[in-house]
């Protein structure tokens, strides 16, 4: 407990952090809410002396936008597909990593590599891998995935280029995001596994529990707090998806033939800013906040019922 005489000292020590937080976090949040509820708000007009009426026009307008609905759909689809998929894969990999003795450090390092690699760089590698095979603007594009398909006797698929479809684009993004999301989840789950008392497994062995039942009835429930954690953080990160798509498609957020096809909510917010539409961007940001908040609440609610002790 801080002596009341020295309370100013406590405030002094906290001041740098508090001041920075006030300027860069608290004020922007308040300002976002303000801008969102001023009809047709634009910073430039405000500086020019314009006034705005209070209302929800920004919201009603973006909810009518085709671009926003598309961004919402893409973001939601990516979340709903990649979060469960990456969690299940991470769980399986973590259990496998935990059960091997030789080279486990080596494999842990390998699985952790994506985490320390720049996501734009990974995206460019993915773009190269999923390229079509042929010549584009005098460059040979040896897309490794298509080469592999051809070697196996399939026709090459246009994954991400001009004649690609929304489905193939999404498949690439799902693979990318899942792969990119694995390391963090594996790390958390592996940590959880290593703290599980080995006696539970010995007890299960004595009781003749099959491997599968041991996994579903003992490992998963005992890991449920960690699983809940990676699912919640996964959904929060998923709804903020942006840089992965820039990594693969560049800031056109889609193939050159259909720019913005894979735009996400965050991408939509960014798009509004250079158009001097801060009111619209703020409203979209608030909608994103409400979505993330609601999903997290649902996660926590389900988590409470499903996670034990």
């Amino acid at each position: 407990m801080v002596d009341s005489k020295h309370q100013w000292k406590a405030w002094l020590y906290l001041a740098p952090a508090i001041i920075l937080l006030l300027i860069f976090t608290v004020w922007p949040i308040i300002n976002t809410i303000r801008m969102a509820f001023l009809n047709n708000y634009s910073l430039q007009s405000e500086i020019g002396g314009a006034t705005f009426s209070i209302g929800i026009q920004n919201f009603t307008r973006i909810l009518r936008y085709k671009e926003f609905k598309r961004a919402l759909l893409t973001t939601t689809l990516l979340c709903v597909i990649t979060v469960p998929l990456s969690t299940i894969l991470a769980l399986i990999i973590a259990v496998c990593l935990n059960s091997i003795k030789p080279l486990s450090r080596f494999f842990q390092t390998i699985f952790f590599l994506p985490y320390v690699t720049n996501s734009i760089a990974i995206g460019m590698v993915f773009a190269a891998m999923f390229n079509i095979v042929g010549t584009i603007a005098n460059f040979n594009t040896p897309g490794v995935v298509n080469n592999l398909l051809m070697a196996l006797g399939f026709n090459p698929i246009d994954w991400i280029n001009t004649s690609s479809t929304y489905t193939t684009n999404m498949i690439v993004m799902v693979i990318y995001i899942v792969w990119n999301a694995l390391p963090f989840k594996i790390l958390i789950l592996l940590g959880g596994l290593q703290s599980v008392n080995k006696q539970y497994y010995e007890a299960a062995k004595i009781d003749g529990t099959s491997r599968f039942r041991t996994f579903t009835r003992i490992t998963v429930p005992l890991l449920s707090p960690m699983i809940a954690y990676v699912v919640i953080t996964g959904f929060i990160g998923g709804f903020k998806e942006y840089s992965s798509i820039v990594g693969v498609f560049g800031d056109s957020m889609g193939p050159a033939s259909d720019k913005g096809r894979l735009n996400t909510i965050v991408g939509f917010i960014y798009d509004a800013l250079p158009n001097l539409q801060q009111g619209r961007a703020s409203a979209a940001a608030l909608i994103l906040f409400v979505i993330i908040f609601a999903v997290t609440m649902v996660n926590l609610y389900v988590g409470k019922k499903r996670t034990h002790y």
Partner: protein, 367 residues
């Protein structure tokens, strides 16, 4: 089920590469555990008792030797195929399951011909729960139970699949003193009711003495003595066993046999006609002393503790290995203010051990 151990040996390879040194956890253990008995494996930590238990359960493979349950050689069988129930030291109850689910869990694992219907499982679970008197707590989680209740759940879980052999690893070490007394009676009762051959591990000699039908005393992987509790106490085979059993512990003196007489220091305390002259250790149980003004053994009184029924005399003697000698005598002995006390000894409470081998030297008179 009779359990037979044949030359059972467990060697752990060294973990230290620079100084490779194998650890022989259990060394050539041969013993037949009679059917339906309660056996206590007793010894200090690191004596191989838990390793023995884990080899019986199948969680650890012996380096050599065989294990038989009845006529079946189970040495190569996996734990689940042995039909053993194991109660872990920390109980290892699944924390996310209720008591009922914990007890049902082994039954739900049964496959093929052994598979039970839901009703049969529940019946068996409640039967096991009633046996250990926790049928009121079936819907609670382990974290909502006391240590003693968790212990019972663990026993019920081990018993529910009707094991051929029940194994208990330090069953009482996580309980407080009062509960320990209660629970050991409980284990005895459950064992008597089920008549399942039960083997438990403990480092607490009192625990082993109080409930076992037979005690196996171990030290550094080697079995020292296997006997009924009272016999282990009354007739220790060597100095280690004598020292390990008994509270207060046995008093050990440096002694010598000369011309058929046993000397402690300069004092001749007993006739031992059949023992050749040599240096010996003399172990005397606390209750082996009689205050006797004409007695041969003189000790300096340090303290007298009156404990109602008896009196405990704390004294010292130059030949004693411990700084103090503790003797328990009748309360009607009066020793007010005396600086010295003279004892005569009860011959059957005096054990003589070879000073080199620490093995017991039996006396004609006692044997």
């Amino acid at each position: 089920m009779e359990v037979r151990l044949q030359n059972l040996t467990k060697i752990f390879p060294s973990r230290n590469k620079k100084n490779p040194e194998e650890v022989v956890a259990v060394n050539d253990f041969t013993f037949t555990i009679p059917d339906g008995k309660l056996i206590g494996l007793l010894g200090p930590s690191g004596c191989g008792k838990s390793t023995t238990l884990y080899m019986l359960s199948g969680l650890q493979k012996p380096t050599s030797g065989r294990i038989f349950f009845g006529d079946d050689d189970v040495t190569e069988l996996t734990p689940e195929n042995r039909g053993v129930g194991l109660v872990f030291q920390n109980y290892a109850l699944y924390p996310h399951m209720t008591v009922k689910q914990n007890i049902l869990f082994p039954l739900q694992n049964l496959k093929g011909a052994d598979k039970l219907s839901k009703e049969e499982m529940l019946d068996r679970a409640y039967e096991a729960a009633k046996l250990v008197q926790i049928d009121e707590l079936m819907d609670r989680k382990p974290s909502e139970l006391s240590g003693g209740q968790q212990q019972r759940v663990a026993i019920a879980r081990a018993l529910v699949k009707m094991p051929r052999v029940l194994l208990l690893d330090e069953p009482l070490s996580n309980l407080d003193a009062r509960l320990r007394l209660q629970t050991r009676e409980e284990i005895k009762r459950i064992q008597k009711e089920t008549k399942i051959t039960t083997i438990f591990v403990t480092h607490d000699q009192e625990e082993a003495m109080s409930i076992s039908d037979l005690i196996v005393v171990m030290k550094l992987g080697v079995v020292q003595q296997i006997d009924k509790p009272q016999d282990v106490y009354d007739n220790p085979k060597n100095l280690f066993v004598a020292k390990f059993l008994g509270t207060p512990p046995i008093n050990v003196f440096d002694g010598e046999v000369k011309n058929g007489s046993l000397f402690i220091g300069e004092e001749k305390v007993m006739n031992v006609s059949n023992v050749p002259d040599k240096k010996v250790f003399v172990g005397i149980r606390p209750e082996g002393f009689i205050v006797d003004p004409k007695g041969p053994l003189t000790c300096k009184v340090q303290n007298i503790e009156v404990m109602g029924r008896d009196v405990s005399i704390v004294s010292s003697n130059a030949a004693s290995q411990n700084p103090i000698i503790r003797s328990i005598v009748d309360a009607d002995v009066k020793l007010d203010g005396a600086e010295e006390v003279k004892f005569s000894l009860k011959p059957h409470k005096v054990f003589i051990f070879d000073a080199e081998t620490e093995e017991r030297i039996y006396l004609d008179e006692v044997k």
